[in-house]
Subunit: 106 residues, 4 copies
């Protein structure tokens, strides 16, 4: 399997279709909200809050992260993958997409 | 069903078996590490990193959160639930435990 | 770790609190319905049905199985685990319960 | 949103790239094996087998179903979606693909 197909880090790689400033702001705002939720969890531990309350909050953060992940996956598929297939090098992108989905489904 | 059985917020409720300072430190350290990972995600967006790289990192944060959640659930069950059953009011605690698990399994 | 704590097969072990005939019928009916859904999937393949239709049906079967699993887990916890803790040997049962939950959460 | 985009049943729709007889046999064999596992679960209930044993078997069936589902999804994406995009009507197929993935991720 070529190195292009695995999911190792490639820090210089950019989105095939660049994100607009507006898109970037939206994703960052969602992440900042999640960061705040994590700090909220730390406070709950400090305040000796009941286990079940903390667990319910963790489930809320997990749902928020899943949503950000899904919206990135959707944008990647509808923009980057589509564009790559239309430009003729889609097989590799689709191979990679399936790896990401498999990685998530684990 | 009594209000004790639902999963609404009860800010004054404490763990049935109190968490030691050592336990609290351990959980908070794991949460702080996750908070750092979220900030790392924000940086990745700033640096226009490739969608798939960000998705892989989100999956890593999800796995870390799941682990913290599971360890809290395990501690709650082995300490708080067990202790409550042994003290004679376990039915309510087991009812609540199943609600949490159902909430997570959604 | 003792053999009592792992999740290997123990064909002679029975539920701590026996299932009534009514309970057994109910579980078997749900399983028979799922068996029918699987045969429906086989037919869909025979009839060359569209991939997405089959995938939606598979998701339905997965949801049905999850529901049976959850109801068995709930009954096990509320009856067998509770009874074992009340009889004084609950620690082992709770250890085993967490293993099952961890197994499911994988 | 047009009716082509929702996930309602369309019994006359076929795979964009037809399945070979060999492919069909392979999927059916996997489903037949799962059908056998479901019947095994029914027998376990008849034989009063221990709850945890049954739960472990249910988890095995769930894993098997997930695998069949993933392999159908992979084949659909690599064949039907790719082919549709290359033929110029990929946007609809990618829209539908995201709906399926979202449906699974629920």
């Amino acid at each position: 399997m070529s190195h292009k197909h695995d999911l190792s880090m490639q820090p210089d790689k950019k989105p095939v279709v660049p994100r607009s400033e507006h898109e970037k702001e939206k994703i960052k705002n969602r992440l900042k909200k999640i960061e705040g939720q994590i700090r909220g969890l730390e406070r709950m531990v400090d305040e000796d809050r009941y286990c079940v309350e903390i667990l319910i909050q963790i489930a809320a953060v997990q749902a928020a992260l899943k949503k950000v992940g899904f919206s990135l996956l959707e944008r990647h598929t509808k923009m980057c993958v589509l564009h790559s297939v239309q430009s003729g090098n889609g097989e590799e992108m689709i191979e990679e997409l399936m790896k990401v989905i498999r990685h998530y489904a684990k």
